[in-house]
Amino acid sequence: MKEIVIISGKGGTGKTSLTASFAYLGGPDIVVADCDVDAADMHLLMQPDFAHGEDFYSGELAKIHPDNCTQCGKCAEICRFDAISVIDGIHTVDPLSCEGCGYCARICPTDTIENVSLNVGKWYISSIKTGSVMVHARLGIGADNSGKLVAKVKNEAKRLAEETNKEYIIVDGSPGIGCPVVSSLSGAAFVVLVTEPSVSGLHDLKRVYELVKKFNLKAGCIINKSDINENVTKEIEAFLREENILHIVNLPYDEQFTTAMTNGQTIVESDTGGLKQMIIDSWNKIKQTIK
C-alpha cells in the first residue's frame, strides 16, 4: 500500500480538482483521505454517504467553577496566553485564547479549575461514487489541533487500506506549511506538488518543497494554468530540474476545472478532450514512479 500526498503551499492551484480526478481514475483501488480538514471540499465531488461518523476530541480548555473560586488571581498571573481576565470581579477564561496547557488547573490552590476535553470536529468514513471509500472530516469552527484531526483521518485511511488490501491511499492536503501539512506528509511514499506560474505560486512552492525535503520525501510537480505566464513556468521548470523533482505535466488554464466542479464532477468525468487525457497520463506517470 502506497500513500500519495497532494499539496500546494498556495491555495487555489487546483489541488482538490486533481486529487479527485486521480481518485476517480484509481477507482476501487484507492482509499481517499481528505486531509484539508480546515476547508474540506472533496466530498462535493465524491458523493460520500457519510455512513460512519464520530466526534473527535483533542486538546483541552480550562474552565473555572465560580463557586469555589477565591479570585486569588494566580491563574491569570501564570497564564502566558492572556486567556484569563477578570470580568465583573470574576476570573473568566476566554476560550479563544486558552491553549489548553492545563498550567492554571495545576496551580489553582482551591482546585477549582477543570480541564474539559474539546470536541474539535467530526470525522467520517463514506462509500463514494468511485466504488471505494473516503475518510474525511470537518473541523469545528475556530478549532485548534487540526494537525491531530489530519493524523486521525490519515490513520483511519491507512487502516482501511490495509484491511481491504488497497493499492493506494491518496491524500488531499491543506495549503500552507504548518501543523496540518506536516501531519499530512508523514508516511508519504510520494508527494505531488500542484503549483501555478505566478510569483506567489513559485514562492509558495519553494517553501513547501523545503518542508518536503526535511522529511526526505520523493516529489513530483504539476504546473497548472501553465500558459498564464510562460516566463514563470520556465522558472518553475528550472527549479524542478535543480531540485530533481519529477516534472509530471504542464496543464493549460482551462475553465473545465470550474465547469466540472459546478456539476459536482471530477475533470476526468466531465471533460472529453485533451485535458482529460493529460490527467490520465499524469496519473499513470505517478503510478510508474512509485512502483
Binding site: A39, L44, Y103, I141, S146, G176, I177, D204, R207
Partner: protein
Amino acid sequence: MKIAIASGKGGTGKTTLSVNLSAYLAEKEEVVLSDLDVEEPNSGLFIKARVLHEEDKFKMVPEWKEDQCTLCGICQEVCNFHAVIQLGEMIMVFPELCHGCYACSELCPADTLPMVPKKMGMLKHLRNDKLSFIESRLDIGEEQAVPLIKQSHDYVDEHFRDDILRIYDSPPGTSCPVIEVTKDVDFVILVTEPTPFGLHDLKLAVETMKELKKAFGVVLNRHGIGNDGVLRYCEDEGIPVLAKIPNDRKIAELYSEGKLIYNEVPEVKRELDKIVAYLKTWQEGAQQ
C-alpha cells in the same frame, strides 16, 4: 479601523485584494498592511517598498540542564503537548510542539528547564510613501503560526497610531491562525469565488465570523465563472456583497507577474471604490 481580509478557501484572491486595496487607499491616506499569512506570505511580492527594519522573531522554549535534574518526571507529566519527554535518564524537548506555557519550567523543583529563546521566523517593516507594510514569515519546519501572528500584532500596535487604517492579510481556513488574525478587528472582508468549493468554504468562514460576533461582508472574485450559488446564499442570509471583481485573464496574468491590477483594469478600481464606500458608511454607522 482594523480590517481583516480572509477566506475559507485558499487562492480566492485575499492577497490580490489586500495589496490592491492597501495601495489604492495609500494614494490618499496612511495605511498599514500586515501580511499575517505567515506560512506563505505573498503580499510582499506585490509591494515595492524600502525596508526600514528587519528582526528575527523568537518563541520561548525550555532547555534541559542535565546536571541539576533529579529525573522526577514532573515536566513530562505537566506538558499537555508531549513536547517534553523523559527517555531513560534523559529529558528530551521538542520545540516544534512546545506552546510556551512555561509549566514544565516553572514547576520543575530543581530549576532544570530554563526557558530560552528559539527563532521561529522573522518580521520585516517596509515603507513606500503613505503605505507601511509589515511582513511576518514563519521558518520552515515550525508548525505553529499563532505565536508569530501575536508578535506581529504587538509590533503593529507598538509602531503605529490607533487611528491609522490597518489591513490584515489573513491565512486561509477557519482554524486557530485565522481566529488570531480576526479576533480583534472591526470588520472582516471574506473573499470567495462563485464555485461550489467557494460557496462551501464561504459558509464555514461565515459561521466562524458569526461565532466571533464580527461584522463582515463578502467580495466575490472571478465573477462570471461557475454559478450564482454564492450570490443567492448571500442574499438569503442578508450578507452584504461589497464588490464583484470580474473574471478576466488579464487580471490573472498581471497577478502572475507580481503586479498591482487596479491601475490596469478599470473595473477593478471601480469595485475597490465600492468597497471603500461601503466601509466608510459602515464605519460612520458603527460610530453612532
